[in-house]
Amino acid sequence: MEIIALFFSAILINNFVLHYFLGICPFLGVSKKIDSALSMGLAVTFVMSITAAVSWAINHWILIPYQLDYLQIVSFILVIASLVQLVEMFLRKISPPLYQALGIYLPLITTNCAIFFLALMAALKNYNFIETVIFGIGSGLGFTLAIILMAGIREQLDLADVPEALKGAGISLIVAGIMALAFLGFSGMIK
């Protein structure tokens, strides 16, 4: 029961983008079209779930037994960077158009603070292995949900009459803020 609660709270309540405001760079950068937003979301979900598992293993089997907790940050970054390289090679092989569409934002997943936050958060909260993986998948899906909603709104925004000064990033950030307010409605549903 607690695992289900953790899963849904990662998606809706403690949504990384709309609650913690992490990972805003790809959230604004790749949310112009729904299909590239979906692929970005899935790439992040993939990296997040694997990162959660691998970083848990490193943390519990290597870092904690040898009292090397202070290496958490650098070793988690290593995990994330390697996984992003893997995803990049994989995407380039199976879908060159998608690789082109994601462009610079794909390698930038490496520096996506949302993923790093996930690894640190799981270590901080002392989740066990299953909880960590569920937390990772849920957070990834939460990111995917947020970026797809954003892309859907931005596709409509193309037809709207936006004041000159707010065009582009300005209106997108306002929309993100309103979305965050809407998601605030979920808070308190799960303790």
Binding site: L71, Q85, M89, L159
Partner: protein
């Protein structure tokens, strides 16, 4: 001694991940012909898609593979085609210079309006509710094509129709895609006679909604039966090369001015 533990741990972790990546790279490596990069750099990088590929890079890949001839890039034209052909050791074919043409003469005066349109100021939006002219085939006059043009080759005339500057037009076809009513298309620049109407309404209706609509009277067809036919109450040029230059005055007897040569003063 204490310092050795973290150093060795990080080294071991780094080694582990790099070995993993090396194996993954061997499995997932994508071989790319270096010629693709070279050809791609020669192309104009407009990424307009006029060649039928998704961008300059995709076109370069197709040329290198031999799937597309180098002269298919209308923006680069002859110069780029020859350059690519030289690099790849193949022969470039002859280029037929094309240019975008407007197939409507429904100016604000000529075409009757249905009312004033106050919605979103794009043709795409106006087309959804039928536009502001009674003619449901004519130019909507809000300039989606002008916005789409990346080469500054179009502008809207005061009469509400797009005008194309032949010298600047590269025949990339972006305006053709932008027009929700297919008013524009690409034609060889040597084709003098153009049909200036897209209306498939029957003659009497077409005449009622626009002074310059094709009413399918057949005067042009009688002048050049080999080259011009009537299709869906609209004159259609089947093969412009068969139009006899001496018959052009006969064609231009068109009672509604919906076929003929461009008028040089404002329709270039």
């Amino acid at each position: 001694m204490d310092i050795l533990v973290p150093i060795l741990t990080m080294a071991a972790l780094g080694l582990f991940f790099s070995v993993g990546l090396v194996f993954a790279y061997k499995k997932l490596r994508v071989y790319e012909d270096p010629k693709i990069e070279i050809v791609s750099e020669m192309l104009p990088q407009a990424n307009c898609g006029a060649c039928g590929y998704s961008g300059c890079r995709a076109f370069a890949a197709a040329v290198v593979k031999g799937e597309a001839p180098p002269e298919n890039c209308p923006v680069g034209g002859e110069e780029v085609a020859n350059q690519i052909a030289d690099t790849l050791g193949i022969k470039a074919g002859e280029i037929i210079k094309k240019v975008a043409r407007v197939h409507c003469r429904g100016t604000w005066n000529a075409a009757k309006s249905r009312g004033s349109y106050l919605g979103i100021s794009t043709c795409f939006a106006a087309h959804l509710i039928g536009g502001n002219k009674q003619c449901s085939f004519g130019c909507l006059g809000l300039g989606d094509c002008v916005l789409a043009c990346a080469f500054d080759a179009m502008y809207m005339s005061e009469e509400g129709l797009p005008v194309i500057t032949e010298d600047k037009c590269t025949a990339c076809g972006k305006c053709v895609d932008a027009c929700p009513r297919s008013i524009l298309d690409l034609q060889p620049i040597s084709q003098e006679i153009i049909v200036f109407c897209r209306s498939e309404d029957r003659g009497p209706i077409a005449r009622k909604v626009c002074k310059n609509a094709c009413i399918a009277c057949g005067i042009c067809v009688r002048a050049c039966p080999d080259a011009i036919i009537l299709e869906n109450y609209l004159a259609k040029i089947v093969d412009f090369k068969k139009i006899d230059p001496e018959k052009i005055p006969d064609i231009e007897k068109c009672p509604t001015d919906s076929i003929g040569r461009l008028k040089k003063e404002n329709e270039r």
